[in-house]
Symmetry: C2
Subunit: 420 residues, 2 copies
């Protein structure tokens, strides 16, 4: 594009993300987080002018990112306002590779999950294998399952340390991945913009946006899984990665252990002391899903034998967990702590008691308004979090091309989707 001396090149405003982009993002963000809203509601929420909202919605609609529906059967006086909703065709691919399986999903920008596939693998999958599987499945879906979808990108939730800047998996011990350029691998294989994140951090983001900590600005999230304890932080409404994206590794912390008799592991590392394996051991099971474990724990605690070994182990783990949470609360002053996995099981034995214990270990002021909650998105959590990574781009700058415009244009002109 040659720009003559008098041509106004426009388009690129060097001011950076400002003005228009910002407003588009705020409208789209509202729809993304809150679900469908009337134009009137958008006007209210953004504080923008009616005409401006009309214009913004028009632009998003023309880009194929949102669609307008007839107003709800109005229950109020006045002219009914059309409902603006996210176009269901805008989706992301979410992937969660684990030791025993790779889970893939297609997640809509409106946060609903279109499809989910679990591919069992005999042993920990190699990165290349994972990339290939993703590419295959994406191609297959595009051709068959969701031909009219616009896939804006791929998000991966990896159980391990991930460098945020370039999607390099530094160390995922259970997958035996070390310094794996996963983002590059997947991007090359599937030909779609790809982002990689730590599973627990993405879980935190999902719980913050759509789960137990919805609309809460300062959240500490801790998840207890079979392989350890991971976590994530939301501070001031923003997911925290730290300098390299490794933030949130509560599992490696060494909390104080008040009673030396409570110590089981030599290092005093949280995830060695508070662990699902020890809990299973006490319960006398080799493996169990979370409800089974929870039931066994609940039964032991409900019994009246104060020396019940299950009960003792639960109490021991709760004591140490309380100290770890107290430390986190002192430093971060969150308003909600969300617990997932077996940590939720541990907490639910008696949430109020655990809260009191945390209060005993942290400053009173910080714990006054503190709430402990159990995570609530279950198996969708990581997929929603991973999708969120893929959506980050379009949410930050909805004007950026994603392919949705083309689909829209094709639709409008009645032509077949452009694929040479």
């Amino acid at each position: 594009m040659l720009a003559g001396p008098d041509a106004y090149t426009g388009a690129m405003n060097l001011m950076g993300p400002g003005g228009r982009q910002r407003n588009l993002a705020s409208v789209l963000g509202l729809l993304h987080r809150n679900g469908p809203l009337s134009r009137a509601a958008l006007t209210d929420a953004t504080g923008l002018n009616r005409s401006t909202i009309a214009d913004l919605v028009g632009e998003l609609s023309r880009s194929g990112i949102v669609e307008e529906r007839a107003p709800d059967p109005a229950r109020r006086v006045g002219r009914p306002s059309p409902i603006v909703a996210i176009d269901p065709r805008v989706v992301a691919v979410a992937v969660n590779p684990e030791v025993d399986a790779i889970t893939l999903a297609v997640v809509r920008l409106d946060q609903s999950i279109v499809l989910r596939e679990r591919h069992e693998v005999p042993r920990a999958p190699a990165p290349e294998e994972t990339a290939r599987l993703i590419a295959d499945r994406v191609a297959h879906w595009r051709a068959n399952t969701i031909p009219d979808a616009v896939i804006v990108g791929i998000g991966l939730a990896v159980p391990g340390l991930v460098r945020a800047s370039d999607g390099l998996v530094r160390d995922a011990p259970h997958l035996h991945w070390r310094d794996t350029p996963l983002r590059e691998l997947v991007e090359d294989a599937a030909g779609l913009p790809t982002r990689v994140g730590n599973d627990a951090s993405l879980g935190a983001m999902a719980e913050h946006l759509f789960g137990a900590a919805r609309d809460v600005g300062d959240v500490v999230y801790l998840n207890g899984g079979a392989s350890g304890i991971g976590g994530g932080l939301i501070i001031g409404g923003i997911p925290v990665g730290g300098a390299d994206g490794y933030a949130g590794e509560f599992g490696q912390n060494r909390p104080g252990i008040a009673d030396e008799g409570d110590r089981r592991a030599t290092g005093g590392v949280l995830e060695d002391e508070v662990s699902r394996a020890r809990l299973l051991d006490a319960v006398g099971l080799d493996s169990a899903d979370e409800p089974t474990l929870a039931a066994a724990v609940a039964a032991a605690v409900a019994g009246d034998d104060p020396d019940d070994p299950i009960r003792c182990e639960v109490e021991r783990q709760r004591r140490i967990l309380a100290t770890a949470l107290g430390n986190a609360v002192n430093v971060l002053n969150p308003s909600v702590v969300v617990l997932g996995g077996f940590l939720a099981t541990l907490a639910e034995v008696d949430v109020d008691d655990l809260r009191d214990r945390v209060r005993g270990q942290a400053m009173s002021a910080s714990t006054e308004t503190l709430e402990l909650r159990s995570a609530c998105l279950a198996e969708d959590r990581l997929l929603i979090g991973a999708a969120e990574l893929a959506f980050a781009g379009i949410l930050a700058d909805p004007a950026l091309p994603t392919g949705a415009e083309d689909a829209e244009r094709d639709l409008v002109s009645g032509a077949a989707p452009s694929s040479p």
Copy 2:
């Protein structure tokens, strides 16, 4: 203000802080953080157009917030660019009440300290006393010392828990203040916009902006004082307060203590185990300033007696400190940890060794790029932090009236400052 049917009420853009305000703030922020810059440098740094920078600087200049100087004797080819600097008349009042004294200062928006006064008090000052002193001194300065200064507000650094939302001092144990509406008290007494913050958090902000962690986005700051250990966080370049503003209280944490023999206090609270008092005790002094203490510690460590009690105590505290730092690093993945007060003394015994110890206690990836640094702003730190609090308003929205315009107008018109 009546707005006729065709009057453009303008001024308030419901878009919130956008466009103009943003650009003014970014120019002013650059000057505030970097010191004087040429207009060309501003153009570069902001990415804005030359003409836009001219306009913005013009507006700031007309408001009396910045001034333009003749270009530096140019050393480069091309037309020299005028230097834009912050007007030295724009100041804030910074206050740091302590048990034995109240320190007040007048700090320029360019971060230089115009004057500092230390008012010794026989016993912990009452809040009302503090407010009255501030009001008196401000009145005095206005009349005598700095008649042409424009005081944009008052910032207080309080050693205790401060609720960020309303400047309520929840608990400042050494001052015996509890649930004291300090912001209100000072605002009423002095008639100036007032902000209150925790001393350590403000120290963190100062070190981040102008000190040891300058230009570093993710910082953990820990300060060891006579009364305990306080701290502050900078995450993604933003000072972190948490839900209520109490974040950063590392001193109340309970880190793991690997060797039970290292335990001195029953609770295992960091600031009971790692404390200046215990260090002084080991050194055999009743009280000492930091250099004296540091010298004694250095001497003991330099000696070749491995059983030297000072050396042992230092090593013990370093072991526990390392665990506490490891915990913080795991959770926050900062790129720099800044240590102040006696914690700097402890660290400086052997910084590399302490770093290695932290590495041993935290995940390797997070500590790869980790740096431990000593704080460097000394006694100015809290005052600069407090002033920053007072400047927050003008920095966020330079267009907001501060009184600087009036001073400028008076100056230009040659009239005496308006004071009825």
